[in-house]
């Protein structure tokens, strides 16, 4: 059973020592969760799944009860699992089905201005890039790396936009056939 990206991350965070569920959420948010902080529910459900798989164990339960009072520790199987997860390369995202591509083709088929669509998209992309760049300038190294990751992806999209814009004529011919 898959424990997912969040599961592996939380597991990895436990490697430095046993933590409460609340601590785990805070550590995750601080390091990885800039865009989307975790819900407590997510932490709770993920931890119970990890428990079930024997990757973590409850180290201690503080008085007062409740899931958040549990202190989790990683098991040897858990460490092995983190090892395996980190060593397995991520499958590159192929992006073969793009909404944008569909929009462009549709515009060409219906005689709408495809260049406008591309330009608008480009402007939107750049707007995002500006925000990311701005954040990057104010943030620390971790911020910069995260933003760069996003920026590079956006840049790749932009390159595709440029290339498509340059080939609109040919695309139109191909679509019309």
């Amino acid at each position: 059973m898959s424990i997912g990206h969040i599961g592996h991350t939380l597991l990895g965070l436990l490697e430095s020592g046993p933590r409460h569920g609340y601590d785990l959420k805070r550590a995750f948010d601080e390091k990885f969760g800039h865009d989307r902080p975790l819900h407590y529910g997510q932490v709770y459900s993920t931890m119970s799944r990890l428990l079930k798989n024997g990757l973590v164990e409850v180290d201690a339960i503080e008085a007062g009860g409740g899931p958040e009072r549990k202190r989790y520790a990683i098991t040897d199987a858990g460490i092995t699992d983190v090892d395996r997860w980190l060593a397995t390369p991520e499958k590159p995202e192929p992006y073969l089905q793009s909404t944008l591509y569909t929009k462009v083709v549709l515009a060409l088929l219906t005689g709408r201005n495809a260049a406008d669509i591309l330009d608008t998209q480009r402007a939107e992309h750049l707007r995002s890039m500006r925000i990311l760049t701005d954040r990057k300038r104010q943030g620390d190294l971790a911020d910069q790396l995260i933003c760069d990751h996003a920026l590079f992806h956006l840049e790749a999209d932009l390159r595709w936009l440029e290339l498509t814009a340059a080939r609109l004529g040919k695309l139109r011919e191909a679509v019309a056939r």
Binding site: A123, M129, R130, T133, L151, E155, L158, E162, A165
Partner: protein, 229 residues
């Protein structure tokens, strides 16, 4: 046609042909003080020609360019040179530093051209070099410093006259992304601090992201994306 209200530098309906090639075919442009505007577009689209026209380096075949209420077309070559000397600054991709002069002398050069004494010019130059974190190469020649340092020296030179408009043509084109971004950061920070307008010609989206808005040039025609949205 009149320039948009409040603009510092504006161009309308610019046409410029090199032989049979139309480099500009009705391009428009405007920029406000303190604004950073990216000029984007594929290579050969006319970006650089637009920049050269705006800076008064190249005279367009037709169209109007107004800077601070003055029409560039009616100025003499000497007047435009003086404008470039006193009100504009320039950063290019490479090969812009005089190889014989030391870095600080290069930075001081525009001030010296406007008649500032050598001592004073070099003092001001050093201040800007500190801001761009290249004061340690002040005594070295351009050939002895790294590409990133050289570009920052060039930026310092563009800023030293406290110009109101800075023209940058692919300022990071010859740098890797880390050095390029550092240059862009220091550059835009310094430009904003002096409320200078920056015309930034680039084909790299990540460099354009340092701008406030962008203009796309395609086949000699410009498109202001802000207004398009």
């Amino acid at each position: 046609m009149t320039p948009p209200p409040g603009s510092l530098l504006a161009a309308q309906d610019l046409h410029k042909a090199y032989g049979a090639t139309k480099a500009l075919d009705g391009a428009e442009f405007s920029i406000h003080p303190g604004e950073v505007v990216a000029v984007m577009g594929p290579s050969g689209s006319g970006k650089s020609t637009l920049l050269h026209c705006l800076a008064g380096i190249v005279v367009p075949d037709s169209g109007s360019i107004t800077y601070d209420g003055r029409e560039l077309a009616t100025m003499s070559d000497a007047q435009r040179s003086a404008l470039r000397r006193n009100e504009f600054g320039f950063v290019f991709q490479f090969g812009q530093l005089v190889p014989e002069l030391t870095c600080v002398e290069n930075v001081a050069l525009p001030l010296r051209l406007s008649g500032t004494s050598r001592k004073e010019a070099e003092r001001a130059a050093l201040t800007w070099m500190e801001r761009l974190e290249v004061e340690d190469v002040a005594g070295q020649r351009p050939g002895e410093v790294s590409g990133g340092q050289g570009q920052r020296v060039a930026v310092a030179r563009a800023l030293v006259t406290r110009p109101r408009v800075i023209f940058a043509d692919e300022p990071t084109g010859a740098l890797d992304s880390l050095n390029g971004e550092r240059v862009m950061e220091l550059f835009t920070d310094a430009a904003r601090s002096t409320n200078a307008a920056v015309v930034l010609v680039t084909h790299e989206a990540r460099v354009a992201a340092y701008s406030d808005r962008e203009i796309v040039v395609r086949d000699g025609k410009s498109r202001d994306m802000e207004r398009a949205l």
